[in-house]
Symmetry: C2
DNA sequence: CAAGGTTGGCTAATACGATTAGCTTTAAGC
DNA sequence: GCTTAAAGCTAATCGTATTAGCCAACCTTG
């Protein structure tokens, strides 16, 4: 019996692809194994458990999202950077709804956890964008959380088809970006109360 | 063997309580049955499946959230209404993280689905609050989606302990409300671009 | 190149949770 | 007091995660 040449990253990658196709609940050890041309128990040579596999998918998704955002905002600033970041994040989640869904509920085990590190990279790119707005330094964390909430919320709701009625979601997202831009502008210290 | 006097609502209520205590993954037919003093198969006299039970939990959570928001904004308008609504929603999710988590991923089966109806009630209260801002009628849907995304995102991230660093989350939420208020104000048609 | 140990795959077995089948008793209505 | 639908039970089935233990394939080292 020839070897399949697997490693943890390959298993996680196959599971992530499966998650995107079937949804997070469709990620089963049997299906992942089948896709890799291997029997189910063999997966345990590379991952600890299904929970561990989901954690790996979440870390992969967060890292890919961080890359997408970093690339999107490179060379941009101000409102252009904000818009590019929002779209990059939203596009990533729409393109990979299953693996991003794995991040909801996944909790980092510690500061060195790849999931935590990837999350830090996302936050870092967001912070760079926010530097284009005149936010007081001691309010930066609040602004980051708010922005992250806005994007996470929109992306997950849209990915889950949570928006029932059918006004164009692309127009809504453009509206959201405008709203965020104006809100951030008005939070600068010399803006009227 | 005396009867337990169950009905679908009682089963869903017990499951929802369990979800809050153990997380959504902890909701198992066996545990729900045990909590109701009944054997597992008996639950199937009241619900169709575990998926059906989760759907019921989601509908319950959405209905309770709708009630909380309705009560919170009663008699208020403008910025006060916005703040009260945001806090009511956030507080509800923090108080019932498990059952609210059931709404992510639950999808309404049709227009008459209780989950859809409860969602409409939430949207309705949000729309009432937004009427205090001068939003163009054809942009109301965009504003609703944006507001919902913001709240859903913040509440779920906080409930999942997704905010790693430890700046006071209450202060962050106050900042978020201020941000939303200013953003909405500036989206009025006579505001500068 | 041959020996030996480590790794990655396999089959078989176990455990647990969801679900179904079919029986029995309760309780509600006539 | 009967009849009957509903609500509970036990027993059985099935799918999925996980573990145990075996064997072949690769890598190392002489």
């Amino acid at each position: 019996m020839p070897r399949a040449g697997l490693d943890p990253a390959a298993v996680v990658a196959a599971a992530a692809a499966l998650a995107d196709e079937t949804g997070p609940a469709g990620v089963t050890m049997g299906l992942v194994a089948e896709r890799l041309g291997v029997r189910t128990p063999s997966l345990y040579k590379h991952i600890d458990s299904l929970a561990d596999l989901n954690h790996g998918i979440a870390a992969l998704a967060m890292a890919e999202a961080a890359d997408a955002i970093r690339d999107a905002v490179a060379g941009l600033s101000g409102r252009d950077a904000l818009a590019a970041m929002c779209r990059a994040f939203r596009d990533y989640v729409l393109k990979h709804p299953g693996r991003y869904a794995a991040t909801t509920g996944a909790t980092a085990t510690g500061p060195g956890d790849p999931l935590a590190l990837a999350g830090e990279r996302v936050i870092g790119s967001m912070a760079a964008v926010l530097r284009g707005y005149r936010i007081e330094p001691d309010q930066m964390n609040h602004a980051l959380r708010t922005l992250r909430s806005l994007l996470h919320g929109f992306a997950t709701l849209q990915a889950a088809n949570g928006f029932q009625w059918d006004a164009d979601q692309e127009v809504s997202f453009t509206w959201l970006i405008d709203f965020a831009h104006r809100g951030l502008m008005s939070m600068s210290p010399d803006s009227p109360s």
